[in-house]
């Protein structure tokens, strides 16, 4: 997870699909030409009214070379399947990838993945079948979707000529609903009141989750999974329809 504030990311396809992901999957399966993508969408998606307790989830996190998906790439993907009871960290996966863009020194300092480490790493293309199989039929969970969604879409488009979207539950957005519902008014600004931080670690802290070392893809994915379990336990319920959470 690489998060430096919402102003740096472009709002792209985010609102393109309302919340009828089930129908979108059917359409995609029929329209797309790439067999890999066809298979992915053919697995289908749960209806929006499905209670969150019945939804198979998968937390993902990307480490990237920068913030803009048009000229930055993915260097690492962490993934952990889970549901409301168990975070299957024992089934977690992590890939180191060789991006098609230069690794900047600034990003090396953030995620500590070096040039030499990725020089022998595979291209996203070669792990795609495996990755898509792990994501198919599940609802993905991220902290701050403006990285994972556009980066994934851009990387797939570059490789397969067709883009792809899938539903995401964004734990940052769930925090923002609570803490950013109202903009700061002039009185708050006079008093130099700060927004409550909705960054991953600060959010976790509000639910008494322990601090973790950031910018390690699997650890960040687990951290988001734990945060979602905590958010559901405190603010929603196992019966909350998934449509109230995904976007």
């Amino acid at each position: 997870m690489l998060y430096l504030g919402p102003q740096k990311a472009k709002k792209t396809e985010d609102n393109a699909i309302s919340t009828n992901w089930q129908q979108y999957y059917l359409q995609q399966a029929a329209q797309l030409k790439q067999p890999l993508l066809q298979q992915f969408y053919a697995k289908g998606m749960l209806a929006g009214h499905t209670p969150i307790s019945q939804v198979p989830l998968v937390a993902i996190d990307f480490e990237t070379t920068g913030f803009n998906p048009t000229d930055n790439g993915i260097v690492s993907i962490g993934l952990v399947p889970f549901n409301l009871q168990y975070i299957a960290s024992s089934k977690a996966r992590q890939w180191l990838l060789k991006p098609r863009f230069q690794l900047s020194d600034a990003s090396v300092t953030v995620h500590r993945i070096t040039h030499s480490e990725i020089s022998n790493a595979p291209d996203l293309n070669s792990i795609l079948p495996e990755l898509l199989a792990l994501l198919a039929g599940k609802v993905a969970v991220v902290h701050y979707r403006q990285i994972e969604r556009p980066f994934f879409n851009a990387a797939i488009t570059a490789r397969l000529g067709e883009g792809m979207l899938f539903p995401l539950i964004d734990t940052l957005e769930l925090e923002a609903r609570l803490h950013r519902a109202k903009p700061l008014n002039w009185w708050d600004k006079v008093r130099r009141r700060q927004h409550v931080s909705i960054r991953l670690d600060a959010s976790r802290n509000r639910y008494n989750l322990p601090p973790y070392q950031p910018h390690h893809a699997v650890t960040d994915a687990i951290a988001s999974a734990e945060l979602l379990q905590a958010q559901i336990a405190h603010r929603f319920s196992p019966d909350t329809p998934v449509s109230e959470l995904w976007c």
Binding site: I87, R93, Y207, N208, H216, V218, T219, E226
Partner: protein, 621 residues
């Protein structure tokens, strides 16, 4: 790509019993873990549900409960639960609830079982009430200390040198010179077929000097005239530490070793000192060479050093307790010798008594002097009491100077109530046993641990027999003793750096004597009295209790192990204070205990607590 669970691994590396695992195994454990979040107040485990994983608290706090809803344990970060259910049929035994928002690491049952089977430390840490396993580990620990694990037979390196009981001292001395030995066993002569070859006595160089040469007897004197008849012996199967205890207790320099009643060797003090680097035997022999109270007082630091060394060399509590009691007893004996030198011989015979921990051979470094005097029945207060009053005062002041503080309950021979003729003592005991009330017995339980230290020690044995033959038939007495024994209860365990009480309240420190060893000793004493045991040491009493089979099977062994855990915690606490130059006390702070000690202590307290419930039910208190 090979996955790295860096956070999980780092957490495991900070907590027992995981941090002790080999690196490779720990890595595998980290990769096997799944995670779950529980909001404060939610149920984590329900009674009797299937259980698939060991639960490790990553953050937060958890309470576990008994089936009846009583609080069983409260655990925080690094705490584990569910192990008992996994070890017994993979069903939840102690339901669990999140006390705070809690993150749990689930370690799969198969991985747990593998760790339990492969790793001694891990198994020892997690197993509860599995006495078989606990004994194995204990035995493994004992193997490190030769003194505790080796039998007397391993000390024997030559055939015993012996001579028939019809020999003269001259012949004996010749044989001793020829064989270059300092002691000689005297065997019953063949003329008595039943006794043929069995031990009649022993003589030493010192006996020849003191009993033949000094009084000017002829060298043709029969050896039986100067030998020590029927000496104290030990069986070759007994442990070296038991030999040491005997030699300390009776200040012996030579101890004949028997095999099926026939002598197979002699242990000399030097044989044991090779093993016994802490020199408690040296301390005892030095006590008897001191000429004044001030000189005895100067030995206090030696006694403390001896205590610390025994602890560091992994001696068990029975060994330490009996060595310290032997030292204390020797100090008393020497003080009485000095008192008689100063005051002249006693006007009537007497017996000086040790009570409480010294009588039980469970003395530690920090101890009250509990003593009393039994006087001959011809005692007339007007004529004799001033002598015994002075004698008692001399000994009591001397003991206080040597670090044995005055008894706050005034159970000392300086108190006229406890300086009485044998008949009065017999009345005391009869009235305690026959007209008991909990109030009357509150301060007298100490008299049921009794040992004659000096003088007519057979009187102490007579009182002991009076107790052991009558007490067991007096349910009211046993019930009253039980009521007092239950007034002190153990805590439930520990939570963070607090002592947790049965009701979940917290305290900062634990008086390990009042809440641990003392109620344990009380409990064991009542069972011992109920079966007419004549033993006074708690471990020996437990042996008698085991033999009498009055407790459910295996329970007495569990009591022994739990008592040892609590006693050693107290001993180590005091040794640590001495090593840091602090005044030893009984107040243990939870932060001084390792996770391992806490867990074992908690289990030991549980055993004690259950045993107290059994006692209450059994004696209808």
């Amino acid at each position: 790509m090979e996955i790295e669970q860096i956070e999980i691994l780092a957490f495991l590396q900070r907590h027992s019993p995981f941090q002790e695992l080999p690196a490779e195994q720990l890595h595998q454990v980290a990769l096997s873990i799944d995670i779950g979040y529980f909001k404060a107040g939610t149920t984590i485990l329900r009674f009797n549900d299937p259980l698939h994983a060991l639960h490790l608290i990553r953050s937060g706090a958890v309470e576990t409960f008994r089936r009846n809803g009583d609080l069983y344990n409260r655990l925080s970060e690094g705490g584990i639960f569910g192990e008992q259910g996994l070890l017994r049929g993979a069903k939840v035994r102690f339901p669990a609830t999140a006390l705070e928002d809690t993150l749990i690491y689930f370690i799969p049952g198969e991985v747990f079982q593998q760790l339990f089977d492969d790793n001694e430390f891990f198994a020892d840490y997690v197993e509860v009430g599995d006495s078989e396993r606990r004994k194995t580990t204990k035995a493994a620990r004992q193997a490190q200390s030769n003194l505790l694990s080796s039998t007397v037979s391993s000390l024997l390196n030559r055939e015993p040198v012996s001579i028939g009981s019809n020999a003269t001292v001259w012949q004996a001395a010749e044989l001793m010179t020829e064989q270059n030995v300092s002691s000689l066993l005297i065997l019953h002569h063949a003329s008595e077929p039943a006794l043929n070859g069995t031990l009649a006595g022993i003589i030493t160089d010192k006996d020849i000097r003191a009993r033949l040469v000094a009084p000017g007897l002829k060298s043709e004197t029969p050896v039986i005239d100067i030998m020590s008849p029927d000496p104290i012996t030990i069986d070759q199967q007994q442990y070296i530490f038991e030999a040491m205890t005997l030699m300390l207790r009776y200040n012996l320099h030579h101890l004949p070793v028997l095999k099926q009643r026939h002598p197979v060797g002699v242990i000399a003090i030097s044989d044991i000192i090779r093993y016994e680097s802490q020199h408690s035997l040296f301390v005892v022999s030095r006590i008897f060479r001191q000429q004044t109270v001030a000189e005895l007082q100067a030995l206090t630091t030696d006694v403390q050093a001896c205590f610390v060394r025994m602890v560091n060399e992994d001696a068990n509590s029975q060994m330490i307790g009996s060595a310290m009691a032997a030292i204390g007893r020797s100090v008393k004996q020497r003080l009485l010798e000095l008192a008689e030198t100063a005051l002249g011989p006693p006007p009537v015979p007497y017996c000086f008594l040790a009570l409480g921990s010294m009588a039980r051979d469970e003395q530690l470094i920090l101890t009250d002097q509990d003593n009393a005097l039994i006087l001959d029945n011809r005692f007339e207060p007007a004529l004799h009491d001033s002598y015994f009053q002075q004698l008692a005062q001399f000994v009591s002041d001397g003991l206080a100077a040597c670090g044995y503080t005055y008894c706050t309950g005034k159970i000392m021979a300086t108190n006229p109530e406890w300086r009485q003729p044998l008949t009065v003592w017999q009345q005391y005991f009869r009235s305690w046993i026959e007209q008991p009330t909990a109030e009357r017995l509150l301060h007298s339980s100490i008299f049921f641990d009794i040992d004659g230290v000096w003088g007519q020690t057979q009187w102490a044995e007579q009182l002991q027999q009076l107790v052991s033959s009558t007490a067991r038939r007096k349910p009211l007495f046993l019930a009253s003793m039980t009521r007092n024994a239950l007034s002190r209860t153990p805590p439930l365990g520990f939570f963070k750096d607090f002592v947790m009480e049965q009701d979940g309240k917290h305290n900062n420190s634990l008086n390990i004597k009042r809440r641990g060893t003392a109620p344990f000793v009380d409990l064991i004493r009542i069972h011992a009295l109920a079966i007419g045991s004549e033993a006074s040491n708690s471990f020996n009493r437990l042996k008698d209790i085991t033999d009498a089979a009055v407790l459910p099977k295996g329970r007495a062994e569990d009591l022994r192990d739990a008592f040892e855990v609590i006693a050693m915690t107290r001993i180590r606490h005091q040794a640590a204070a001495l090593q840091q130059g602090l005044e030893p006390d009984n107040n243990v702070l939870p932060e001084q205990l390792s996770e391992f000690e806490r867990k074992h202590l908690k289990e030991a307290f549980q055993v004690l607590s259950n045993a107290q419930k059994f006692l209450k039910f059994h004696f209808k208190a």
